[in-house]
Symmetry: D2
Subunit: 344 residues, 4 copies
């Protein structure tokens, strides 16, 4: 229990943005039909259509794992395989939910920066048509990646082309899609649909929401019957208006973008302030709201007494520090000071 | 979209109770470690121990279907069978989630009032030991039932004894456990653990929460490893403090009981006011917050233009009307007036 | 262990027909590529095309449960429901394999003779389109039924029409399809494909084979990718030639029909010889190779000391007696004598 | 269709050994109760107890994939992970059946010779206790490996010790357990139970049977309820006596050992005759009945016109040649001649 500490552990340690909270309160008026047949949900769906095109189908979900796994199970059969990075949340942090829910094999590709390459994928496609092998059907990438890096549009397009040529779907885990868009200074559609992504897990929880996730299908035919998969996946909230209200707040006046830009800026500030400190090595490009760094283990231990954060790779003394919509410049300054103290 | 109407469709159409909302806001201070390692969750767990005993294990969940299915999948193997009423939410309203997640067969017993009897269960137990048959392992009952009725403690004890004698677990779907306790004027422990229930799906969403459900294991050994099942079942919220805060509000000063008593009272009032109206037949005992009634179909249609509610059984023109923590006496009076108008 | 007794327990207690054994031996020459790429399998596939049409797709399987479950899992999604009789092997005797493998809910319809009626099915179809309910997708019937009765072509056509109108597939569990064809004096195609059946589990094991089952898809598009489902369902035999050889023997010179006719004839003989015995009541129409009868329980016990057979319904002292390709008239005569002795 | 060619593709391309066939014929006398309650099955179970100890529990199965997957699903929960080599049949050649049936994640370890090492396993065990990660529960090794190599007893003991220390089960895929025992000149118990193996998939199909596999549990408590898992996994044959008869033949007078020794000897002969041929490089130790070799691709193509075998690794022109119980010295001589011709 370390609740009183400022946390650099994850952007999900941050509180709910006050505008989001306000929107939830405003939705808390009188009765509303359950399961999404309410005006807040209608409004939120409209906002997704404004973002991505009027023909998209969006379904609100409760967790990021829920979005990833329910959407993947919907577009696969158990004899399919899903290809992803070995750093993917899907592979590492969902306690085997993809295997349990989809029945599929995950093929993981080694990746230092969380991104995967065409050349890594090609050998796996030789399994196609061989009845003893799970059949590759989905390519899943994370944007921004679990390592804080981003795929550039041309990289996504290259993967989409490969997917298209080999009858694979391109799924994007967008738990931090806002941070990626902010980093690239592109619209949400420009880094997803316009690049050939088929299915997007759209995350808002890490962007200032309480619990608001969505599955966006860019091809309506893939979305057919997804309401049943959502329900069966235990992701259908009865009081849906409160999830929808969170999206309504974040998608109003680009609050999602302001939150993401701010978090990214705080990570950049942190990186900038520590980059010249001896004994610290930044190990990943700081493109969004995460800083990965190696520092001496006794310094890590010392620092953890005052701040909560994760050791990412014990073997090499690598830590992950994340910023969020509520991180202040002063928090960074104090943290850097503490780092110097821990090292000194 | 009928959001402006007063709804008698379900207690999940009601808004969040203001004290619950306030508690969530109070939890919205600064950073908190994710996934339950925070002071709000610690406090909520403490409240469950106060209610049920210090050795219970409680896990917070996101949906009622999630609580039912994750807990049942945890205590079964796929070759097991789960016995429940044909009115059970498990059987009727979870889109096959129990089968998908547990792999188990559901044996459903015909029930007019939502309750099941020992004599119905006994023939199913003959399958025990026969390798071609799914093996009965769980008895699941709903309290209050989907028909608004309640199991009396001696009835639960009888089922628990049977379960115990035949190596079955007794699971209780407590989506409306508060309404049952209020109806019986007994404590939550008195109608669950003290009667021999093994596993409880504790529902708060219908009692004034936004999205707060819990699995309570009365036997710690059953709870072992459940954290993995919860995660894999996509029911682990990162910003857990907001779920915990809801429980903290409802379990403080018996707010859960006040809410339940009020909802029950409003249903009783409605039943009382319509019981002598010709052309209306109340079809279930009104023991909690639901009134089931038959009335002419043209009256149903007319009434549905002004109020939202469900036709329960089209064949016999039976409707379900539910009250909630926010139903006012005046709402009942206006509704009864509308019923008379629709019938007249 | 009662191996020395003549068994009337099941047609799967019979040995392998000698012509089938001979065919297996003839296939036991030299090397053959595994998994079905051999001349015996090619020949057997050809025989199925001769029976059902050149565009059918047939897949050889190892068990009847395997055929039923793998084919049903292939044409369903986990949120679908499968409708069948409460006497169906699928429901009663597969240890929950359909639920485990398909993830689907089974809707069972009460049936005295093992056959289901349109009027029973219609109410279940009201679930269509309601996201909380499993969505009906398959109608599964057994031919001959588990009660020894047969569906007449017009009955199947009526069900097929209903299925077609409501976007359901019609699956037939043909574990005893040969006995049904023999009983109706119709070809195998006339009681399956020509009546609108979509998918057939074709059983040969009970007809004189050792272990030879097949899934037949009458619509090629349904068969797409089934090779992966078969493999993943652990039903793909490496030394496939020995399964194929069994089919080659049974489908050569109508051996399957001779075996089925003989078994049916023996059951008819048994029924004829006992129908006037006081204290015995035949409880089902004897249309294929099973005789269901009620007789006093002490007679059952006495008879079971000399013959192996199953008590079907303990409550009403109902037994099932089955004949097979190897049952001789003399066996029937001795058995009837024993029945008289047991009763007397 | 290349049935007339001598096959070096797999030991499952070989016919059934004549003694096995004879035993099946001898079992084909009169009626026998289904599903294993017959004298042949009793005798075969006795033979397994003689081999491994009177307290083992053995279950006869239909396919090797079935043995692996059903036994692993029985001892795991879906949130568990199974650790194996990246060459394991489990990972590569079961079309995702382990994921579908167990719901588990497979952690694969890179291995050149098909064997895995303690140092590779240790980092995976750091996931233990972390709720977001699948929990390692089974270590699965193949004996003989898919690369034709064998684990020596001390290697197995080291892995068993690790497994034991970390609460993992040690599973052995023994599709070619006979070849391993022959190679090591040790008894079947000495390379399994006595080394600490918990569960053995015992394969006979590749050793001269038609379709005979078994799951052997060395700890009776693990075997509890496995009859239901077998049935639900569609691996329970009704006419069980024919599977049991195959085991009875192979386990009588060490036929299994003679078959395995012979196959191993033929592979050694092949390796010996080609080891000095220029342009051929043998790439794995020839310890059992497989020879892996690299040779020029045009030679491969030429040779495949006359013999059936698999290219193992296209990238490096590596092929796999397997011998079986029916391979004759003359077959090897002719094959070597053909290799020289293809190279020349």
């Amino acid at each position: 229990m370390k609740a009183s500490l400022k946390s650099f552990a994850s952007d999900n340690n941050a509180p709910v943005h006050e505008a989001v909270f306000r929107a939830m309160m405003e939705a808390n008026e009188g009765d509303a039909i359950g399961y999404g047949d309410d005006i807040h949900t209608l409004a939120a769906e409209k906002k997704f259509k404004d973002l991505f095109g009027s023909d998209v189908r969006v379904f609100f979900m409760l967790t990021g794992t829920g979005s990833n796994v329910a959407s993947l199970s919907h577009v696969t059969r158990p004899y399919h395989a899903i290809i992803c990075s070995d750093k993917a949340h899907l592979e590492k942090d969902e306690c085997g939910a993809p295997e349990k829910m989809c029945g599929c094999k995950l093929h993981t590709l080694t990746s230092a920066d969380g991104k995967i390459q065409v050349e890594q994928i090609l050998p796996l496609l030789e399994s196609k048509g061989f009845e003893h092998h799970a059949q590759p059907k989905v390519l899943s990438i994370t944007q921004a990646t679990e390592m804080g890096t981003v795929y550039h549009p041309e990289e996504i397009r290259t993967l989409a082309r490969l997917a298209n040529e080999h009858d694979l779907y391109l799924h994007m885990d967008g738990a931090r899609i806002a941070n990626a868009a902010a980093s690239l200074d592109l619209s949400l559609a420009e880094i997803t649909r316009f690049c050939g992504v088929d299915i997007l897990s759209f995350g808002a929880t890490k962007n200032g929401a309480m619990a608001a996730e969505a599955v966006v299908f860019f091809d309506q035919s893939m979305a057919a019957d997804f309401q049943y998969t959502r329900k069966q996946s235990m992701q259908l909230l009865s009081k849906m208006r409160y999830v929808s209200a969170q999206f309504n707040a974040l998608l109003r006046d680009d609050l999602w973008l302001k939150n993401a830009r701010h978090a990214n800026k705080m990570a950049a500030l942190l990186a900038d302030k520590i980059k010249d400190i001896e004994d610290i090595e930044i190990t990943q490009k700081v493109e969004t709201n995460a800083v990965f760094a190696c520092l001496p283990d006794r310094a890590i231990e010392k620092l953890q007494r005052r701040y909560f954060f994760y050791v990412w790779d014990k073997g090499r003394n690598e830590v992950r520090w994340m910023t969020a919509h509520n991180t202040r410049e002063r928090d960074i300054e104090e943290f850097v000071e503490a780092i110097r103290w821990a090292l000194g």
